[in-house]
Symmetry: C2
Subunit: 161 residues, 2 copies
C-alpha cells in the first residue's frame, strides 16, 4: 500500500464520476476541467481503472466513462491499488526475500501495517464519500463554475458565428 498524490488524483476523479455519472457517461475532458487534472494524466489513470474493471467506457460523441459497479461497491483502497498496480519491484513486495535473499527486519511489520491501512480504506466506499457535507459543498461550487464555463463557451460560439 503506497499513499501518494497519484492515488488521490484517482479517488478524486472517481468521486467526480460518482457525483455526475447518474445520467450517461462523463468525458475525461469534463473531469479534467472540474478537478484541474491534466487530460492526458487522467487518460493514463483511467486506462488502469478500466483494466481493473472499476469503470467502463463508451466511445464516440456523448461517450465517456461510467462507474462499472454501484457506488457502494467501489472503495478507496481498490481505486488506489488500481493506479499503483505493478509497482513493488523495489524493496520487499510480496516475496519475503528483500534483503540479500532473506527477510528484512520490518518485512512482516510492514505487511501488517499495509494490511491494516488497506482494511481501513477498503471500508470507505464512494457512496460514503458522497454523503460527506464538505464533498457536497465543493461539488456544488464546481458544478456552478462548470456550468458558467459552459454558458461562456456558448456565448463565445454565438459571437464568433
Amino acid at each position: 500500500m503506497r499513499l501518494t498524490t497519484k492515488g488521490r488524483y484517482a479517488v478524486t476523479a472517481m468521486l467526480d464520476l460518482a457525483i455526475h455519472g447518474d445520467d450517461g457517461p462523463i468525458s475525461l475532458a469534463d473531469i479534467s476541467e472540474r478537478q484541474g487534472i491534466s487530460l492526458s494524466y487522467l487518460e493514463q489513470l483511467f486506462a488502469k481503472l478500466r483494466r481493473n474493471e472499476l469503470v467502463r467506457s463508451v466511445r464516440g460523441p456523448g461517450g465517456g466513462y461510467q462507474l462499472n459497479r454501484a457506488q457502494k461497491e467501489i472503495n478507496v483502497a481498490q481505486v488506489i491499488d488500481a493506479v499503483n498496480e505493478s509497482v513493488d519491484a523495489t524493496g520487499c513486495g510480496h516475496n519475503s526475500s528483500c534483503q540479500d535473499g532473506v527477510t528484512c527486519l520490518t518485512h512482516h511489520l510492514w505487511c501488517d501495517l499495509s494490511a491494516q491501512i488497506h482494511g481501513f480504506l477498503s471500508q470507505i466506499s464512494l457512496a460514503d464519500l458522497m454523503a460527506r457535507k464538505d464533498v457536497q459543498t465543493v461539488a456544488q461550487r464546481q458544478d456552478r463554475q462548470h456550468l458558467s464555463a459552459f454558458e461562456d463557451s456558448l456565448i463565445s460560439a454565438k459571437v464568433s458565428a
Copy 2:
C-alpha cells in the same frame, strides 16, 4: 501522510537502534551493514531524525546514535513524518487552496484519511514493534551474521598483521 519506502527505511533503522542501543551509541556503519541500507542514505535520514529530536548523536570513536526518548515514547508516525518533512508544496498541503486558489474536491476527505492513518501509526511505538516475534527472530539472525562478519574482520586483520 505519505507512505513510501523512505519512511520504511527510517522505521527499520530506528528499530535497529532500539534493538541494539541498550549500551552505548550505535554507528550508522553498523546499521548500514545489518539492515542493508546505504551509509550515506542513512546519514541523510538521521539528519532529519536528529532535527526532529528522535535521536541524539555522539561524535568520535565509539560514537553513534541513540534514541532520544524511551522506546515507548517514539511511534511509527513520528518517524515517518520526520523523514518526509517539508514535502507538500505540490498538491494541497495544509492550506486549503489547492485547486486554483479554492479547496479541491477531496481536500477535507484526504485530510481526514491522513489523520486516521496517522492516528493508527502513532499508536504503534518502537517498544511495540520490538515485542513482535517476527522482529525478534530476524533481529537474532542479523546479530549472528553481524557477529560472524566481525570475527572475520578480526581474523583478516590478524593475517595482514
